[in-house]
Symmetry: C2
Subunit: 384 residues, 2 copies
């Protein structure tokens, strides 16, 4: 198949910010693209060749869309996986595959997969309903505190809760879920692994998620992680092991904990371009988006080294503001050296909504970190 | 004016490859864009919010288009400058200005401008018609060899000819033109200067155009130029002087000759993103396209340092092939480290047509140069 030919068509399920950034790089290669999304205001609508309206969880919408393309990928995990399976049977190349996605979509299955493949991960229990958790506690099978996660559709921090007392249980939705032991970690790390269908594999440098000391929220994604070389090698090795187990095609972002004893435990994975890889647009020889394209089109993978140190800050809606978005002080951050804002194009802001991100690159990572803090303290996502 | 607001509209005259690459970066900032081009197959059609069909040399087409936008820019010099003047009078911000463009559009005026502003440039004569050149030769006012240039619409190597004998004169179009003394130069250099309407100025590192030893065609654009620091400083100083003389807003690419005696002579300028700056997408902290946007939107200018060494190779149609384009061996060049092809999206190739470019980046410029040669010897732009 000639991906640069005029008859080739790449389908993308989801028209959000990840799809939009992926589309920048399809333009570079002049690849014909078609996007399916349920919103007429989808950020990537303007950057694709064809845009189709449809529900990503609807079998017919996904199936009919997929029948019109040569290669199908997705920028969000919440898509109808049965439709993907049917498409694969009929010869459409779906990357990552329905099999990979099925395992990842359900957090219980994902945890079992790690156990089956001897991949280190936090201890866990599975529950068909949240209401069963109390029985487990009463039987002595589960001890406070622990982490509760919805098995499905937990995304971007939704569907995750720390449970410290019985009263924390009462507001949980009564759905399939898992509980995990709380890991007192030193660092949260991530490695993005790319793999094409020839089996060529490339890993990006380990990144570190730096948390706000009080709010317990990720404030900065830092590349490379400020950790021992040995720990970085261990994390990369485990990410590769996860990649081999999935045998995925495309990107796989592997999020991990570095424990107090420098053990590495896999937290969860995403089979697509990932927030922890946004810095690559500016910092790496090959952006994660170009790499995802190379992987799913079975092209040779690009060099994953960093040109310079990179730090990413998410732009989220400030508390107390809901309405037409305004990026206050954006011009002030653009004065700072090596600072590039990425605005996703969502018209409405609300508290904690992801509206964009800012990358800070510098030869000196400490200097980048200093500027990143200045960026964080300067720009505010508010409304008119 | 809030450029990130939903009511702001940026107009771009021309929908070619430069406009397309400029549009990548408008997406990054989520700027609403409208493009005017005479071809329904214009490469940037897919990447803008609005596309309008119209002749860029037609007063009404440009005027009516310009009335609908807040800031108007262009990716090609051949646009109706009278329409730009009228729009400026009515409050549309046109960057670069009609005044800058008017001087640049006519090579005779451009040369006079250099002379008036004490900017070093090759000796020249102006002619209302090419037929007058012979008189000048016969009068002893002009000596072979010299360079003939059409005063208007000379673009991408068209409208330029080296005249060695009287017989070379006979095929020239009988239009307004200039003749220039032939400069036996050591190097052809270029510096891109960015300026916003606040008067903030930034210069990119000096680049070098390396010529094929026999074909006398530019083969590689190399950043930074492999020249003495003193020569680089001189070239940058002269580029800044040209920028100050024009008082332009936006980018100004200044092409210069380094003579055998290390004199610097200005050859010509382009008031827009330029072929000599394509490498910045991968090599610089700020791509020339993002910088042009920052400049015309009066945003702070980005850092112009290089992250790594960069080399650009143009992808032009191979001789003997006219038809539906095929990029032969593109997968082979994508295997090489730090190599990124940019395909412009033109469906038809013909000999020497610019179909794309390839950037090679590496920490070691010599290694980049070695890989660039491999790229050049591998990929071929042919047809089905």
């Amino acid at each position: 198949m000639n991906f640069f030919s005029s008859t080739f068509k790449l389908g993308i399920l989801g028209g959000g910010q990840l799809g939009k950034m992926l589309l920048y790089d399809t333009r570079k290669f002049d690849i014909y693209t078609s996007v399916l999304d349920s919103s007429n205001e989808a950020p990537s609508k303007v950057a694709c060749n064809e845009f189709h309206l449809g529900d990503l969880m609807d079998y017919d919408a996904v199936y009919n869309f997929g029948k019109q393309v040569d290669v199908l990928t997705f920028e969000i995990e919440n898509v109808n996986v049965n439709a993907l399976e049917a498409l694969e049977k009929e010869g459409v190349k779906v990357y990552p595959s329905s099999k990979t996605l099925k395992t990842i979509q359900n957090k219980g299955k994902q945890k079992l997969f790690y156990r089956d493949h001897d991949i280190p991960t936090a201890e866990f229990s599975r529950f068909a309903y949240a209401s069963e958790i109390l029985d487990a506690i009463n039987n002595g099978g589960l001890k406070f505190p622990f982490v509760w996660k919805s098995a499905q559709f937990g995304y971007d921090g939704n569907g995750v809760k720390i449970i410290r007392t019985e009263s924390d249980l009462k507001d949980l939705p009564n759905v399939e879920c898992i509980t995990e032991e709380m890991i007192p970690f030193k660092n949260e790390l991530a490695v993005i692994v790319a793999r094409n269908s020839n089996g060529e594999v490339a890993t990006y440098p380990v990144v570190e998620m730096e948390f706000h000391p009080e709010a317990n929220q990720v404030e900065y994604v830092i590349c490379p992680a400020r950790i021992d070389k040995k720990v970085a090698e261990k994390a990369t090795g485990i990410a590769l092991k996860v990649s081999q187990a999935f045998n995925h095609v495309g990107l796989l972002a592997v999020e991990m904990f570095q424990t107090k004893d420098d053990e590495i435990l896999v937290n969860e994975v995403a089979p697509r371009p990932h927030n922890s890889g946004h810095h690559t647009i500016e910092s790496s020889y090959t952006s994660q988006f170009e790499q995802h394209l190379r992987a799913i089109l079975n092209l040779p993978l690009g060099k994953t080294d960093s040109k310079v140190g990179g730090i990413m800050v998410n732009l989220v809606g400030a508390e107390g503001y809901t309405g037409n978005v305004v990026y206050k002080n954006i011009e002030d951050i653009m004065k700072m050296p090596g600072v590039t804002p990425h605005i996703y194009g969502k018209k409405q802001t609300r508290p904690f909504r992801k509206m964009g991100h800012v990358t800070i690159v510098n030869e000196d990572l400490n200097e980048a970190r200093r500027i990143a803090e200045e960026v964080k303290n300067t720009i505010k996502v508010i409304c008119e």
